[in-house]
Symmetry: C3
Subunit: 314 residues, 3 copies
Amino acid sequence: MPALSQRHLLGIEPLLPGDIRTIVETAKSMKSISKRAIKKVPALRGKTIVNLFLEPSTRTRSSFEIAAKRLSADTLTLSGTGTSLSKGETLMDTARNLEAMAPDAIVIRHSASGAPHMLARILEPPVINAGDGSHEHPTQALLDLMTVEERKGPVKGFKVAIVGDIAHSRVARSNIFTLTKMGALVWLCGPATMIPREVEQLGARVTNSMDEALEGADVVMMLRIQLERGSGSLFPSVPEYAATYGLNRARLKRAKRDVVVLHPGPINRGIEIASDVADGEFSVILDQVENGVAVRMALLYLLITRPEGRGGTA
Amino acid sequence: MPALSQRHLLGIEPLLPGDIRTIVETAKSMKSISKRAIKKVPALRGKTIVNLFLEPSTRTRSSFEIAAKRLSADTLTLSGTGTSLSKGETLMDTARNLEAMAPDAIVIRHSASGAPHMLARILEPPVINAGDGSHEHPTQALLDLMTVEERKGPVKGFKVAIVGDIAHSRVARSNIFTLTKMGALVWLCGPATMIPREVEQLGARVTNSMDEALEGADVVMMLRIQLERGSGSLFPSVPEYAATYGLNRARLKRAKRDVVVLHPGPINRGIEIASDVADGEFSVILDQVENGVAVRMALLYLLITRPEGRGGTA
Amino acid sequence: MPALSQRHLLGIEPLLPGDIRTIVETAKSMKSISKRAIKKVPALRGKTIVNLFLEPSTRTRSSFEIAAKRLSADTLTLSGTGTSLSKGETLMDTARNLEAMAPDAIVIRHSASGAPHMLARILEPPVINAGDGSHEHPTQALLDLMTVEERKGPVKGFKVAIVGDIAHSRVARSNIFTLTKMGALVWLCGPATMIPREVEQLGARVTNSMDEALEGADVVMMLRIQLERGSGSLFPSVPEYAATYGLNRARLKRAKRDVVVLHPGPINRGIEIASDVADGEFSVILDQVENGVAVRMALLYLLITRPEGRGGTA
């Protein structure tokens, strides 16, 4: 497997298609570890991984912690409350201090777009973006790709519909980059208030019609309506949003007969996705979670053991 | 040692006396591990244990974490704050997501009675109830039994007084089941507002008189007055409660000369128990904590390594 | 290396100069472990270390956790929220309960001066003070000493200026004890409201003049202005404090040409220390953090493996 072209994983945008291939193929072999009776290999024994989670997270944080432990790495997890950031320390100073404790990788989730890039510019160890503001969430897009390929093979030529609040979704952005790099055709769908201007420059098509987005789709990615972040102000009412952009079985019939449905979770049942779709035969939502551990194991392994001088840019 | 009849530990109620015996005997050998210079065995190496603590807890959570680590398991601990539950995800979805990360056991504490049972109905890995609402707290009752037996041998025929807010106590319920299954005679004592209706159907006797409860008792279990949960509304005043139902040295003289006094902690000194009793020669309160680690090691070991097809019901 | 004279590390005050030497020399060999590809030795395998952090902390808590893991110990970290202390349990009862789980060391940070001493009086395992009120922060002073010696050799005869809120600083107190025991001359500097009465009895000199403190100094230790703890009431305004007692390049010229500048962090850039000094060639702030892990590894190792009967006092 060739080494990654990058020292850090800051987003999908700077990755080469070959990097994406390397990560997914490595993740496939990592996945088998979690199916063994003894779910642990010594690959990263004696390595220290810092998880700096400055936004709330269950799934991603748990996934990174389990990934690290299955590779025998030690983890140190810091969350927003109880860190020196609450004493007014800058993120850069927190990061420099953590670096002085000799971690082998730093995983960061932050509400500010670009926070991982700031860290990567000054820190020696690899930085992994676990979600930064409305910018990117690259591990999510990688696990999404792995999950789609598992069911349906390479995505080249696929029609992929991404539905919801595209404008505020780092998941959507990372998926647009991943899917277009791998040759899929991405359709973005949502009310006008949720579609960013000039998004077509990223190579995606835009529609406000759910029917048009779903028509003949190989893959449907539903986004979470983030009511806790005020998404509610972007549409008239929750029932109206659900009626217009929620995914239900009837509507899904427009898609290909072997369509797969993804959702990054946590799901709002009955809002962006009907329960019978979320739990139904087209849903790969729990495969996404399972593959998330594998993708994060792959990334931690590839970045920490990456030979120096591979000449990547941050 | 025979395998347990159950795949999960949801409560004491569904256990057979033989299950209880198996757990306590296994806990006795586990206890010796914590007395060694190297307090660690490889029994659960490469296993992942998720601790889902949705109610505050020091003692029980710490006890489960230490138990897992002494068996070389990896742990992932999630607490109420900072989980997706705060984003409106249902408990079932949180559980399904955690399951997708391939844990080998899930330990859950939850404010809702029956929450562990809901999980057990849908999840593959064993579920351990670490306290659910006012329903059961089975590991507490098992460690209580182990502690009593350590000092006084089998409880068959013993008079055991349980004093305090029986109606809201999952500790009391689990102990009633355990003690009656093992042949002890349970007396429940407290003000009328704290005794549930029809509790005698569980095989216990009821009295409002502390003297009657203590008379000739082999074992006294004092319950915590949970002022932080509004127990205060169930009696006129704290001093009055302490005077009527608090355990002090004078009152304890009615019990057998080799009586043992238990309390699940944290104790309210001077309310339900006088300091000189809590710290005195009849108290086994710290033995309870020590045995808690051993009982939880035993349960994790027995449930995770249980041969399949043993035919238990959830 | 001789064993320590103490069973616990409660402060620098009770240590012998030989103890300090043993700790720093052990820390030097521990430091090399963090520079290896596999940053882990089995020295404390099967040991359990409880970190009881009842005040917020990133740096110190992370440092202790990483130190423990690099020695292969298991850790249990408890913070203020979510412990039984919030249910009204006394610190002593929390400690006795933790002890019943057979930890091999207890690290405690507490807002009350003397809290670690209370624990040490009743607990069997070694207690390490990670900062108690305004009393002592011994591991900070030990890592400060190690850092100064690394650059400049033994501190005997050095002029060391400590600048800031001396009266409320446990860092200052522990450093005064350490430095005077090792033969340095300590100058304390700050506004009169920040200098405790009779501090000269500890062997230090006092001045309100920053210029006098810096004149010919070998070492400058800047203290953090703790605005989050109301330090603001001790001086007229932040800009005025920064102008009078902030360290900048111009002012630093009064010190020796090979002066080193320390700060316990987190730093307030532009208040007690100018950014170009914090990041400049005289600053050893990040070395302090790096050495912090080494000092804590040394202490955990020395205290946990200390031969019994060495006859120390608590």
